[in-house]
């Protein structure tokens, strides 16, 4: 497929925004049960503001993908059948809940709902709801790709798992960097989870790379045109100037270029951020942690480019020569 930058930005930005929110909320839950020191509400306000900015950024990027963004509201109508429509519904819900999570931290409204004097109960409830929405949004994002069965590189549960783990990893890495600025006691917690999620992502992405390298295409030129002969060669595709079919479904780069992108993302997403996080935690350097996030985020954009470019659409069987 041809990787569209709007979709690369959409998926990486909202993935990180969701992961950052999960990091914030898990930090708050841990501190609610006294596993971690409680934080000042400014940490959660800053965090949810940044998560919201990432989510809005992703939403903005998605509009650039549309031919008619003014009609985008219609996309919420087919949630019964379309994962894209479900994502269109889930994304504003996540954004709204993250917004209210930040707002309620800001106004610091205390209600004793559980009857145990636990502070921040309203935000815990909003946060729990938002976490469910975040997981559903990851599911929607992944299923948009995994549900197209003839894009065999995508049609696997690994697609959903990778979206979840990559979003989580980059979100926790960002949370580590934020914590280094205004919640130093959480750096260790976020840093270790960022490393764990990154390593988990490394495992699942390696499995999916291995799987995709060994895929046997279901469709062949024989099934595409229905001619049972071992030697079938296309001589003309019906036009000389190219068309949507020749532009949208192929990345237009060489195999060597594709391979180099793969190695770039394998380095930028996994070992480099882990080393930077470890170094940043050892040296107590917020700069190194910030760098870890930036490196991983850039790496994820390469990963997403590769994810799209690697998918081989069966329609390409009809467009093999001019």
């Amino acid at each position: 497929m041809h990787p569209a930058f709007s979709v690369i930005f959409l998926t990486t930005l909202i993935g990180t925004g969701q992961g950052l929110f999960l990091a914030l909320f898990s930090g708050q839950t841990y501190s609610a049960v006294n596993l971690l020191p409680a934080q000042h509400s400014s940490f959660y306000i800053t965090g949810s503001l940044l998560a919201l900015i990432l989510l809005i950024g992703g939403l903005m990027a998605s509009f650039f993908h549309l031919g008619h963004p003014e009609r985008a509201w219609r996309a919420a109508s087919q949630w019964r059948t379309s994962w894209l429509s479900r994502e269109v519904i889930a994304l504003p819900i996540v954004m709204g809940l993250v917004f209210f999570y930040g707002v309620f931290h800001w106004i610091n409204w205390e209600v004793d709902l559980f009857g145990n004097q636990l502070p921040g109960q309203v935000t815990l409830i909003i946060g729990a709801m938002a976490s469910v929405a975040v997981f559903l949004l990851y599911l929607c994002t992944g299923m948009i790709y995994a549900s197209i069965k003839f894009l065999q590189e995508w049609a696997t549960s690994l697609t959903v798992i990778n979206y979840l783990l990559f979003g989580g990893a980059s979100g926790f890495t960002m949370a580590t960097a934020i914590a280094a600025y205004n919640a130093p006691t959480l750096v260790g917690f976020y840093g270790s989870w960022a490393i764990i999620l990154t390593l988990a992502g490394l495992v699942t992405r390696t499995v999916s790379l291995y799987r995709n390298a060994n895929i046997k295409a279901v469709s062949t030129v024989q099934t595409a045109i229905g001619i049972r002969h071992t030697q079938v060669q296309q001589k003309a595709m019906g036009m000389m100037g190219g068309s949507y079919n020749t532009r949208e479904y192929f990345h237009g780069k060489t195999a060597a270029f594709l391979k180099s992108i793969k190695y770039i993302f394998l380095v930028l997403v996994f070992p480099l951020p882990i080393m930077l996080i470890v170094a940043g935690m050892k040296a107590d350097s917020s700069l190194l942690l910030m760098l870890a996030f930036v490196v991983q985020f850039v790496g994820l954009m390469f990963e997403r480019w590769f994810f799209f470019a690697q998918a081989n659409h069966p329609q390409n069987l009809y467009y093999q020569t001019i």
Partner: protein
């Protein structure tokens, strides 16, 4: 239930592209507005088409066969492009099974084109909506047209009658008989999309002549040639003469 479709006879298609040009002509002049061409007269011309004729070579030279392969939307019975549409712009008509795009609802997200394994949909770069073969739905029911012309433009244009049009759910229709009797098949059946359009395979027409048919075994002329030994004895004829 009716399922209108095309049956394309690859045995008689000569690859003249008349169906392509007539399709473009009709659909660029229709109610949905022009089918745009981008840079038609400059470098890298490209544009939106509903129908293409491709050419394949089968076999190894010199034992090859050329196949001209017209390709358009197959109006699948289980069309994968319809459920993925987030706006409901992509839909399959209940009454005749034609898969259409509501150009006023389409947001141009291109997701349906990803979900079509045949690459039958083309994004219009100027209208910014997804466009596809309508099976000339604006001809089929138009009572201002003579009844014989209420058919897709490509079907009317085909000089070799390679394109048949009709209801594939009616077992007595021309298309159903052709599918049944000439070995009609679907493209990429492995995905379970159940395309309504069918293709008729290349067929060799051979006249089989047996030697018996060239040399008559019961030739009466040959029978006369079977002569018996003449008798040396005096016959009645000899006596009379």
């Amino acid at each position: 239930m009716t399922q209108l479709a095309l049956v394309i006879d690859l045995n008689v298609c000569v690859g003249c592209h008349a169906c392509v040009t007539s399709c473009k002509q009709w659909n660029t002049s229709g109610a949905a507005g022009p089918l745009f061409d981008d840079n038609p007269f400059t470098k890298d011309p490209t544009g939106t088409f509903f129908n293409r004729v491709q050419t394949y070579e089968i076999g190894n030279f010199p034992h090859t066969e050329t196949l001209h392969f017209p390709k358009s939307c197959l109006h699948c019975e289980d069309s994968p492009c319809v459920p993925v549409c987030p706006t409901g712009a992509s839909y399959k008509r209940e009454q005749d099974g034609i898969v259409l795009v509501d150009y006023d609802k389409c947001i141009g997200c291109k997701y349906c084109s990803w979900a079509c394994p045949y690459g039958a949909r083309e994004f219009d770069e100027q209208d910014k909506v997804m466009r596809k073969c309508t099976l000339c739905v604006d001809r089929l029911y138009d009572e201002t047209l003579p009844e014989a012309e209420r058919k897709p433009a490509c079907v009317l244009a085909c000089p070799t009658n390679a394109r048949l049009y009709g209801d594939v759910h009616d077992p007595e229709s021309e298309v159903s008989i052709a599918i049944r009797e000439e070995g009609g098949y679907q493209l990429m059946p492995e995905w379970g999309t159940k395309p309504a359009n069918h293709y008729l395979p290349r067929r060799k027409t051979k006249v089989h002549i047996h030697e018996d048919e060239l040399v008559r075994v019961d030739n009466p002329l040959k029978k006369e040639d079977i002569r018996h030994e003449t008798s040396t004895e005096v016959t009645l004829d000899d006596w009379l003469m």
